[in-house]
């Protein structure tokens, strides 16, 4: 599949620090990371934190392991840590503002709990991953997800061989799984 080859190539070039690979990575995942930051922290901080994510990713690019998951999932892992840090800073800032000038107390930070960010990140990763599927695999999975059709029902609905539907679903789910892998951060390497 041409798109998969393109993404594989970007991941490899990014990991090796090839020129322009950061731009390609941003073109592929800028929307995903920016949306996650905006929905978690608000418009004011979204650009700054997105910038931090891509800079940190570039500096630590050798730590990215394509065997563990997609580059998008790795970037989201970094973004989640950056968002939590930014929300924590904002929380501290809010307390200081409250102490000095109560009327200026800010109200941001409600949507930045780790649990909320994890859940939001998974949803956005799924939306992003669905866009990356082949049109046929995407259609098959949409029927399985939203209409809860069985593989046999999808085959009948789409007038496709059952074997093709099964193959498309397995391939599609494999891609989703790789894109939605949760990078753990025991060593703090994602910050």
């Amino acid at each position: 599949m041409q798109h998969e080859v393109l993404v594989d190539e970007i991941e490899s070039r990014f990991q090796q620090g090839k020129e322009d690979s950061l731009r390609d990575t941003y073109d592929q995942y800028g929307s995903l990371i920016y949306t996650l930051c905006r929905k978690s922290l608000g418009l004011d901080q979204a650009s700054d934190v997105t910038q931090d994510v891509f800079l940190a990713a570039w500096v630590r690019r050798e730590q990215f392991d394509p065997q563990r998951g997609s580059l998008g999932a790795w970037l989201v892992g970094i973004a989640k840590n950056k968002i939590i840090d930014a929300a924590r800073r904002q929380g501290r800032q809010d307390r200081i503002v409250l102490a000095l000038e109560p009327e200026q107390a800010l109200s941001s930070g409600q949507s930045s709990s780790p649990k909320f960010v994890d859940r939001l990140a998974d949803r956005l990763l799924l939306v992003d991953a669905m866009k990356r599927l082949s049109p046929r695999a995407k259609n098959v999975l949409e029927l399985a997800f939203y209409e809860e059709l069985s593989q046999t029902e999808i085959a009948e609905r789409c007038d496709m061989p059952l074997g093709t539907v099964k193959s498309d679903m397995r391939r599609g789910l494999s891609q989703l799984r790789r894109h939605l892998v949760n990078y753990e951060d025991k060593a703090g390497l994602l910050k």
């Binding site: 620090g17 910038q51 800032q93 102490a99 000095l100 939306v127 866009k131 397995r170």
Partner: protein
Amino acid sequence: MSDNDLSQDSFEDDLARFRELAKSAATKNHTLDEPPADLWTRIEQAVAENNINDEQWDESLSGVNDAKDVFAFSRARKALPALIAIAAALILVVAGVLTLQWEVEDEILSEVALSNEGLDPAGGESLGAAKLVKLDNGAYGIKLDLTGMPKPDKGYLELWAIDTQVKGMVSLGPFEGNGVYRLPSGIDPKTFPIVDISIEPPDGVPTHSGVSILRGQLT
């Protein structure tokens, strides 16, 4: 991962998990936004600045400007701890010399009494004054003369200059006794007139903890 890597169980698990997520995303109308048009330029600049810093390290270590590749990072990092230690020692020596000079030659521009009123009770016994001084090298400093400062069981005291909007703040470093604390170059004391001392937990987070024990505003 090949198609055969997915067992029937994991197939069903994945299907159920992703179905739930897909429905949830659709319910919440999750779509992806286009980032602002200038965001890539900002990232590019940040990476370039990071590269410049990296190249400066490389040059200082090797003495040879061979870092032509703008995407070259992390060379000679093994020598970094030693270099930092040397730099820190030099800074201490220079700071000590400058502090001695400042004690003698400070030009006092303004002064404010620092108070614990309305702040954390850990600084209930603390009071004193902060003076804005012009140093003989043209830089600004905050000269502190404080008493009754607490000694936190965990953490340390830190001195801050804060703007009147309470949106910007500059750390002047850990409070380690009375003396002059230099404002970083480029920081205008008129923009950051609030002098604040906080208790900082030893958590490695570089921002203000929100636990202030003394504060006053220079005029």
